[in-house]
């Protein structure tokens, strides 16, 4: 006789997204890029971006920066960070990326959201982000019955 066993997953849910920047629209060009699609209301227990390949910028004029938040509040999680200071093996959890280990800042813990998790590339002129890889790991819980977080 058949049966199905669903072992407990533990308390928190986890989603992950490995994001590669190449300078195209939504992937490093000036403007927003979506990391996770959010449905309903969810509690972000912890959100931790980790850079595995140096973030690179093109030769355009100006200085490119990145920030992380949600739609309509794109610095909710991480303030504007000069893009080329985010290097491999660093946690991008503040505007001063840190290697080795760091206490997760309060701004990346226990945040209730209703919008997609987005980053935004900004520039003092036209320079954009055209290289680099960041893995975004999120532990979350649903608040509304339809609450969900899916890698974009």
């Amino acid at each position: 006789m058949g049966s199905i066993i669903v072992p407990g997953r533990g308390y928190f849910r986890r989603s992950t997204k490995t994001f590669t920047f190449d300078g195209s629209a939504g992937k490093g060009a000036v403007g927003t890029f979506t990391v996770f699609t959010v449905t309903g209301e969810v509690l972000v227990v912890a959100l931790i971006p980790y850079c595995s390949t140096n973030i690179g910028v093109d030769a355009g004029a100006g200085v490119a920066s990145m920030q992380l938040g949600v739609a309509n509040a794109t610095t909710l999680f991480i303030a504007t960070t000069q893009a080329d200071t985010i290097d491999a093996s660093e946690f991008w959890v503040s505007n001063t990326p840190t290697a080795n280990g760091i206490a997760v800042p309060a701004g990346l813990q226990n945040i209730a959201i209703t919008q997609d998790i987005q980053g935004e590339v900004t520039s003092t002129d036209v320079q954009l982000v055209n290289a680099g890889v960041i893995r975004f790991d999120i532990y979350w819980l649903p608040l509304s019955s339809d609450g969900n977080v899916v890698a974009a």
Binding site: M1, G2, S3, I4, I5, V6, P7, R9, G10, R13, R14, S15, T16, K17, T37, N148, V150, A151, A152
Partner: protein, 98 residues
């Protein structure tokens, strides 16, 4: 009766419903699988069903990254289907026992 692992595969759960591979869990020689150990799921969230109907991105049991699942019985294994919920495909390792 003690079960023994005899086959393994990694299913890529993409945008259309995916099943376990029949030739893997039901080989030409020897008895078929009586249990499948699935997961932990990697990369992307999926939905699954085991009632013979294909899941969709919005209907089916949610399986999060890191979740395991155990199917017992050949009929249940045969009816298992999964599909991703978003743009990222899931990677689901499966070990078959008999």
């Amino acid at each position: 009766m003690e079960l023994n692992a005899f086959a393994f595969e990694t299913l890529t759960i993409a945008g259309s419903a995916t099943t376990c591979t029949s030739a893997t869990y039901q080989p030409a020689s020897g008895p078929p699988a009586s249990r499948a150990i699935l997961g932990p799921l990697e990369a992307g969230q999926i939905r699954w069903r085991a009632d013979g109907t294909a899941p969709t991105a919005s209907v089916g049991h949610l399986m999060e990254v890191g979740d395991p699942l155990i199917l017992e019985g050949l009929v249940t294994i045969n009816k298992f289907q999964a599909i991703r919920t978003g743009a990222v495909s899931g990677s689901l390792p499966v070990t078959y026992e008999r």
